[in-house]
């Protein structure tokens, strides 16, 4: 049995588990057995379009994803998961605090300290090293490699990242029709969640701006525009892995 200390656990997998059926019962049973009379949850939500883009590129690099961006958009349901976390973990045992990533991106230690009820300077933040995102061309090549080898960032992307850390990424964009469809699908869920949280942390419910969509609309074949230099870099890194 544990002592009198509070316990802090952290994992992105909690979101999926807590949004699923049965986990609240397991967590309740665990908390009571371990002698906790309160479970405080900090859940960070993120505006869906930027979240989708980042998750999409992350999964291509780290999880062997072969999806097209439109396919990823068609199944994106993070706001629904967040809402289920709220609904399935009611007071008084659970206290779910929701913050929007736009409000914490530059002040994460302060937000976390505030949630934990400690002084801000008691949390030491690591030196942040942010890697650039995949370019559209890199994503296209890596997806094709993933289709051939499974998760295979070691063949191309990892070395390309090391060699070209300062490339400006070009975030993936949905077509105007797909973006509107995604917004329409997510809007009711986001609105429902907004009603349960601090308005300062609420989802932005305005429809996607035309600038946020791909112009012209992506073709069936999925084409990217890439600089000659960047294409040469990609081809050269691939060639270095080839033994004829």
């Amino acid at each position: 049995m544990m002592g009198e200390d509070d316990v802090l656990v952290s994992s992105p997998f909690f979101l999926t588990r807590m949004g699923g059926p049965g986990f609240a019962d397991e967590l309740t049973a665990f908390a009571r057995t371990a002698g906790f009379d309160r479970v405080s949850v900090l859940m960070v939500i993120r505006e869906p379009f930027e979240h989708l883009a980042e998750m999409y590129l992350h999964d291509i690099r780290h999880a062997g994803s072969t999806q097209r961006f439109a396919e990823a958009g068609a199944v994106f349901d993070m706001p629904a998961q967040a809402l289920r976390v709220m609904e399935r973990h009611p007071e008084p045992l659970f206290d779910v605090r929701v913050v929007n990533y736009r409000n914490v991106a530059d002040a994460e230690p302060k937000v976390i300290a505030d949630w934990l009820g400690i002084e801000g300077d008691q949390l030491r933040a690591p030196k942040i090293t942010t890697e650039r995102a995949l370019t559209a061309a890199e994503a296209m090549f890596q997806r094709a490699l993933n289709a051939q080898y499974g998760s295979s960032a070691d063949i191309l992307i990892n070395e390309l990242y090391a060699a070209t850390p300062d490339l400006l990424p070009d975030p993936p964009r949905l077509s105007s029709a797909d973006a509107i469809a995604l917004h329409e699908r997510l809007r009711p869920t986001m609105a429902a969640l907004n009603q349960q949280i601090d308005p300062a942390q609420a989802y932005d419910l305005s429809p996607p701006s035309p600038e946020a969509c791909q112009q012209p609309a992506p073709t069936e074949r999925g084409e990217v525009t890439v600089s000659r230099e960047h294409l040469q870099q990609i081809a050269a890194h691939l060639a270095h892995k080839v033994r004829l």
Binding site: R68, A137, M140, F141, A144, L145, A147, Q148, Y149, S152, D154, I155, T219, R221, G222, E223, V224, T225, V226, S227, R228, E229, L231, Q232, A235, A236, L238, A239, H240, K241, V242, R243, L244
Partner: protein
């Protein structure tokens, strides 16, 4: 009067296509009184594939091994027909080590009183762009087209040939491929004195497409890494995606001007002695495309072809 017909190219003027027509029309040609001697690559030519034509041994022998000319003459002496040879190597050697006298001596031994040469030329920019893409695809070229342009001297070689073979017994017909590519067989039939429609066309009338800008960049990188490696990628992507629209490589303004300055005098001289409608166009002076963009477009299908082509060679 027996005639020795020589179709001599030069390169990038539909030579392989015409050689396919000659092979497929051998019997018809024979009936009209023209012998098209057998060549080593007749089968390829019949399929419409690239071949070097039946005139390559003649070109190489006349230029460097005249003592071996008997082997080429023997089958010709058994026939009374006119004789047709075709090879780009004839142009190459006629601007290098075959003289008019060499040619006339051979014609005499083959009992031909007259020599009729068919020379196809091409406007320089049009020629260079096509040759560049072919060299990237087939010959391992990795440099920019501007580098190749620095060595381009085809009009000068054409002028030298026209001067060196200016002889009463040698009749040279010059046609500009940039003008007549759609009537290539008709012009050839006219040169040979054949009725229109005599020459048979190969089934595969569509020539393989050239590379897109993105494919060209990738193949150049592979050429730099592996040497000639068109089979690794370029051939496969052209096979897999034949409908893609190729891009012309863009030549820089300086390279255009330098090349123009080098070739302009020869082009002017040639234009004075060939039919006006076949004259060289000074296309190097055309304004370059305004959108000299650094960006190229690449599709998922092209990327799939690259990865599939490399897959069995990638070592992790």
């Amino acid at each position: 009067m027996r005639t020795l017909f020589l179709h001599i190219g030069h390169g990038k003027t539909g030579t392989s296509y015409l050689q396919s027509c000659f092979v497929l029309s051998r019997q018809t040609l024979a009936r009209t009184g023209i012998l098209y001697p057998m060549g080593r690559q007749d089968r390829q030519a019949a399929r419409g594939a690239t071949s070097s034509g039946n005139g390559t041994p003649l070109a190489k022998t006349l230029g460097a091994q005249p003592q071996n000319i008997g082997r080429i003459l023997r089958p010709l002496r058994r026939s009374q027909r006119n004789i047709l040879f075709s090879s780009e190597f004839l142009f190459h050697h006629m601007t290098k080590d075959i003289s008019a006298e060499d040619l006339l001596r051979f014609a005499d031994k083959a009992n031909c009183e007259r020599i009729s040469v068919f020379l196809l030329i091409r406007d320089p920019l049009d020629h260079m762009r096509s040759a560049y893409l072919q060299n990237v695809q087939r010959s391992g070229l990795s440099e920019h087209i501007d580098g190749m342009a620095r060595r381009f001297n085809m009009p000068i070689r054409v002028y030298n040939l026209l001067t060196a073979f200016d002889h009463p017994r040698i009749d040279i017909t010059v046609r500009n491929y940039s003008r007549i590519k759609e009537q290539l067989t008709a012009e050839t039939e006219d040169w040979l004195g054949l009725s229109p429609g005599t020459l048979k066309h190969p089934h595969q009338s569509r020539v393989n497409r050239s590379l897109t800008a993105a494919e060209m960049e990738i193949q150049r990188v592979f050429n730099k890494e592996f040497g000639p490696s068109g089979r690794l990628f370029a051939d496969k992507v052209i096979d897999a995606l034949p409908e893609l629209k190729p891009d012309y490589p863009i030549m820089g303004e300086t390279a255009r001007q330098i090349t123009h300055d080098r070739c302009a005098n020869a082009m002017r001289q040639i234009n004075r002695i060939i039919p006006e409608n076949q004259a060289y166009c000074f296309d190097l002076l055309d304004p370059p495309p305004i959108d000299d963009s650094d960006l190229v477009t690449l599709s998922e299908d092209q990327v799939d072809v690259i990865i599939n082509a490399l897959a069995r060679h990638i070592k992790r």
